[in-house]
Amino acid sequence: MNRCAIVGIGQTHHKAKRQDVSIAGLVREAASRALADAEMAWKDIDAVVLGKAPDMFEGVMMPELYLADALGAAGKPMLRVHTAGSVGGSTAIVAAQTVIAGVHRRVLTVAFEKQSESDAMWALSPKIPFQPQLTAGAGGYFAPLVRAYIRRSGAPEEVGIAVAVKDRLHALKNPYAHLRLENIDAAMVRDSPMLWDPIRYLETCPSSDGACAMVLTDDEGARRAPRPPAWVHGLATRSEPVVFAGRDQVDPRAGRDCARDVFDQARVTDPRREIDVAEIYVPFSWFEPMWIENLGFAPRGEGWRLTLDGATALGGALPINPSGGVLSSNPIGASGMLRFAEAAMQVRDQAGEHQVPGARRALGHAYGGGSQFFAMWVVGRERP
């Protein structure tokens, strides 16, 4: 039986523009930190699994080809995963599966986005003949879902504001976070411009340059690791169509199925009690309560109460996104892997100021596309 352990984690300092580095330099920064954490050299790595969102963000097609040198991949297997916004999570899962399958023993997995090379609005929705142009911009796709959630749950508007404040307060404890809003409070969020009603400016994620990397290994690698590993207790993905008649995009079944699968593998029967901390993909503040329900942390229509009660803040019963989350740093392709990596950092007691004391089991969550691709892992302090 091959178990998978995370023994090295690295990330970049995420910023709107990392103009001090090339694309290679950006991925290298995260990968070097992960190797240093694992006390490994480039030659110790058997294979590289790379993930990112569309190539058009950087204008380099199949960038694994150009990045082979920067990731020390010459003479090694190198895979490139792309599953939209969930890609950072899916990439870590593919890498972990090569260990679980017994194919590789020490795998470097890296995800990145260098959004400053282009313009996200252009790269995500160029005007293509015969295709309807997005007449509402990027948030225009998600704002109607938020409206639908509010209608269903009866949640007050304070919920979206509370998440926006909480995650930015968390970010102040994370030295790698992009947005650092020292004076953040409810009034600042409430007074920020309404962009896609009901979503305000400060309830949205930034555009970031950044990368994340992890070294994954098997039992033997974990025994040799210089620092305590995080162990993979469960891995799951689910996908569903972007649209179909009667599709519930607010509470997608793919997310529910994925959560049930990953918790079953980890033998978690009551996630709210048994998961100590969760890093979930929240690009707009309202997605925190939506995903709390979708993940089964609260009954349908009740997720927002956890947020308003403060349960999801550091010090609460179920801290969510102590790193500051996607609302504070959003290098799109890496955002999912950052959730996975931050979850692993928590159970390794490695999260510094944003550490949840004594965290033994953590959830990493990523989603993408039209809320249709899901990737999750549960990691723990103990070997499963």
């Binding site: 190539d55 199949m62 150009y66 003479g75 939209a84 169509p241």
Partner: protein, 321 residues
């Protein structure tokens, strides 16, 4: 989730659309839906019986981001499915599916790839793969880069001026799609009379800069072949993914393929992103239909054969050598 050591994985079905030089009828879904339906029908599987789905595609061929999202409807992923996607040739999607099956918790996988090279100028589209600082700004295209490799091989005395001239004729593009069904152990034996067992599969990449590589050798093909066990026993037939004749010379050398091996030449028009997967598919088909006991397939990606995958298929589930 934990792996099962020594799990045997086989290909049990392969379907491709006949490649056409320019398909004006089909977008992503119309390419994928028929090959997926037909591959599952041949394997005798319902969609809900498929344990894992993995696909390969490339946004730059179609000129738009998230092309794979539209294509996914072709497998009708409802109820939700276990699924992944590589922005690579479908051969690498098949590799991911093989890894996934080795994990032991699913028994069948569907792999598909689709490509429409006809929409753009393929050699220039492929030039977007080049180092964005010192290569891409030159305006060099992929055919010119292939020409550099052909000339290097000619200078080394291993190719002829005719091989070099073939590059100058350019490549013929086409649009197409293909699907493969994989299964593990007893499931494979139930789904096919003569499953094509994957006895080894491996892929390797080389440095990117052309001027830092020996263009006359494919060290990554050689490494992948070693790790895939390709040299343990000579295959009956080999399907190589070569865009030009000189590439085939380099690959034959790396794979030690002599005249005793039946080589199936690359088709004149090869759908980008699908081509590698179809090599594996055709190799599997020859084993499935009894045409060969052991077949080798190869796929490539990147400028001058930068990245290569080798897959060894055998009618025998047990190692015989």
């Amino acid at each position: 989730m934990s792996g099962i050591a020594g799990r045997d994985i086989a290909i049990v079905a392969f379907v491709e659309l006949p490649p056409v030089s320019r398909d004006t009828e089909r977008e992503e879904v119309e390419l994928v839906q028929p090959v997926v339906s037909e591959a599952l029908a041949r394997a005798g599987l319902e969609r809900r019986d498929v344990g894992f789905v993995c696909s390969g595609s490339c946004d730059y061929l179609l000129g738009r981001p998230f092309s794979f999202v539209a294509a996914l409807d072709g497998v009708a992923p409802w109820p939700p499915i276990l699924e992944s996607h590589v922005e690579m040739d479908g051969a690498w999607a098949l590799y991911e599916a093989w890894v996934r099956l080795l994990c032991g918790d699913v028994d069948t996988a569907l792999v598909y790839a689709y490509g429409k090279s006809s929409l753009g100028d393929l050699p220039r589209v492929l030039a977007q793969q080049l180092d964005p600082y010192t290569l891409a700004p030159l305006g060099v295209d992929a055919d010119a880069i292939a020409g550099l490799q052909a000339r290097a091989l000619c200078d080394a005395g291993r190719a002829t001026e005719r091989d070099v001239a073939k590059v100058a004729e350019g490549r013929r593009v086409s649009d197409g799609a293909a699907a493969v069904v994989l299964a593990a152990g007893a499931t494979a034996e139930r789904l096919a009379k003569r499953p094509a067992w994957i006895r080894g599969i491996d892929h390797r990449i080389e440095p990117h800069q052309l001027g830092a590589r020996d263009l006359t050798r494919s060290s990554s093909t050689r490494l992948a072949a070693e790790h895939a066990g390709a040299f343990a026993r000579r295959p009956d037939v080999a399907f190589l993914h070569a865009g030009f004749p000189h590439e085939e010379i380099i690959l034959r050398d790396a794979l030690a393929i002599d005249d005793a091996v039946t080589r199936v030449p690359s088709p004149r028009a090869d759908p980008m992103i699908v081509a590698g997967l179809t090599r594996i598919g055709h190799a599997a088909a020859t084993v499935l239909d009894g045409g060969a006991d052991r077949a080798l397939a190869h796929a490539t990606s990147g400028p001058c054969l930068q990245q290569n995958l080798v897959c060894v298929l055998d009618a025998s589930r047990e190692a015989t050598s």
